[in-house]
């Protein structure tokens, strides 16, 4: 959800609402925190049910989101725009993959954070 709100905030900002920038920064922080939580959950999944792909995809997303954060910060829009779109696609894909292939019951609660 936080990821999908980021382009909304960016659009609000560029439409001339200065507060949109603060929302966009808050959203970026939120995405970063959620990413780290998801990475932790993915480690648990790997350790407990020996399923590695959630970890690697989460790691890729966290690294991408970190690059996205700094690209936005320094105004490298050539990277920020396409990377943002790629990250949204990645988040959507991981979301679909996780929900299409449910994990054993006891892990569901943990994964739902992502």
């Amino acid at each position: 959800m936080a990821g999908f709100l980021q382009p909304v905030f960016a659009g609000v900002y560029l439409s001339g609402d200065y507060d949109g920038l603060a929302w966009h920064v808050t959203g970026a922080n939120l995405v970063s925190y959620i990413g780290i939580i998801q990475l932790g959950a993915a480690v648990a999944v790997w350790v407990r049910v020996r399923r590695a792909w959630p970890f690697w995809t989460s790691l890729a997303l966290v690294l991408g989101a970190t690059a996205q954060y700094f690209a936005g910060d320094v105004g490298a829009l050539w990277l920020h725009f396409p990377l943002g779109v790629a990250l949204i696609a990645g988040i959507a894909a991981v979301f679909a993959a996780v929900w299409r292939r449910p994990l054993p019951r006891r892990f569901k609660a943990v994964r739902a954070h992502g």
């Binding site: 001339g16 603060a22 792909w53 829009l77 050539w78 990645g90 292939r101």
Partner: protein
Amino acid sequence: MGELRTSRRRLLGIGAGLGAVAAGGLALSAAWARRPAVTGEELRSEAELPQAFSLPLPIPPVLAPVESGAGGDRYEMVQREVEAEILPGYATRLWTYEGSFPGPTIEARRGRPVTVLHRNELTVPTVVHLHGGRTPAASDGYPTDLVLPQGWTGHHAHSMPDDRAVVTDVQREYGFPLDQRAAMLWYHDHRMDFTGPAIWRGLAGLHFVRDEVEDALDLPRSDRELPLMIADRAFDAEGQLAYPSLDPTLTGEHGVEEPFLAGVMGDVVLVNGAPWPIHEVDTGLYRLRILNASNARHYELEAVAEDGRTVPLVQIGSDQGLLAAPVRHERLPLAPAERYDVLIDFAGLPVGSTVRLANRLGSGGTAEVMAFRIAREGASAPIPETLADDLPEWDRSEAAVVRDLAFRAGRMEDGRHGWVVDGLPFDPARTDVTARFGEVEVWRLIADVHHPVHLHLVGFRVLSRGGRTPLPHDAGLKDTVSLRPGEAVEIITRFDGYRGRFLFHCHNAEHEDMGMMANLEIV
């Protein structure tokens, strides 16, 4: 088990596909996108260009008043076309003030009024704006306050009606009270829809204001104080100035050919009207009064000695005069219409060597601006540690109003691509911002691409850039601030001085001509 394996393989395939598409997109962007972002399209000269650093740096002549009295100084200027040798061996037609490009320099003192009678002997209407001047609205050069040339029959001097326009025939007197801090201002044409091509053809000059605060500092003077008007141009095969106007007579349809909608840049860098000039200096301290008079080109200046060492540029002043303390730059960014007052110390450099003033945003010819040749030993002088103590300080808490203003691409009234402020193209008849006389306001300016935003009448302080502390070169009192792509800048100012209709606009001259201006009514 077999089913799981297939779907795992499929998942991996999907993941790899997505990854490849994302990586491809990023690689395409990295290869295609311009880094750093460009601010226009470059015209290529067809004329033969001189070797860099082969021509001397001209210093614009200082204009003598026609009359001086207790009430101030009175000047007269004729705007006329001349031919001048800018490129060796070519006679280039220019539109000039008093026959020179840059126009003659006016030297003024704070609080001593200057009046300038401008006579228009060109083929198009003109109007003069003193950029950075604290000038009453009637003399501020509003874009529709046109001075029509003799026999002008054009039905539409510009694209929109304006009931408040004060149009005169052939000549007009502008009055400048100059009750303002010492600074280097510049005057240029500000005709509605046609400012870009008019400046390009030569209608720009310098105007200094001096005061006691500056006098007390003992800064480098006379031939150690160098005005540097930097402007890029391009020349056709006949050596005439090339500019992609839709109507080259500048009497009909305004605007530029489509590839140049973001801005017009030339491949020749002129300083005071000379291509990549060289200037002889000694090993002492020099004061450079730098103006970027280019339509759309940004520069990042770096002084480089022969051994590759960077000679620092010590900024002592900004658009609206001296700073409180010097700011040392290795590289100095310079957006259109910005001015920087910098000291450069040639001490310790070998006699006979040269120092290049390079443009780190340029490539090919535009990577160079000019050079200094160290011709002899000179006396050294210290750089003052403190400068002016008369900078206005405004606090956010004083602000009566906080405004958000967006500068972005949009459509002009006629539906063509243009540039807009808060979604609207310029209309002289519409008041965009009404400010109360004497009140402090905070403006939060937001950009899609590069926009150097200029406010008439006032100087402002930069409060923040991208939500953070301003950059080192944002110091002091400014009248033009360079917004970078996607960036927001907060500025603070007090709207005092004069009531009336003023402008604020983007100083990318092509953006300005294609809608990116708005009215500021001070009541």
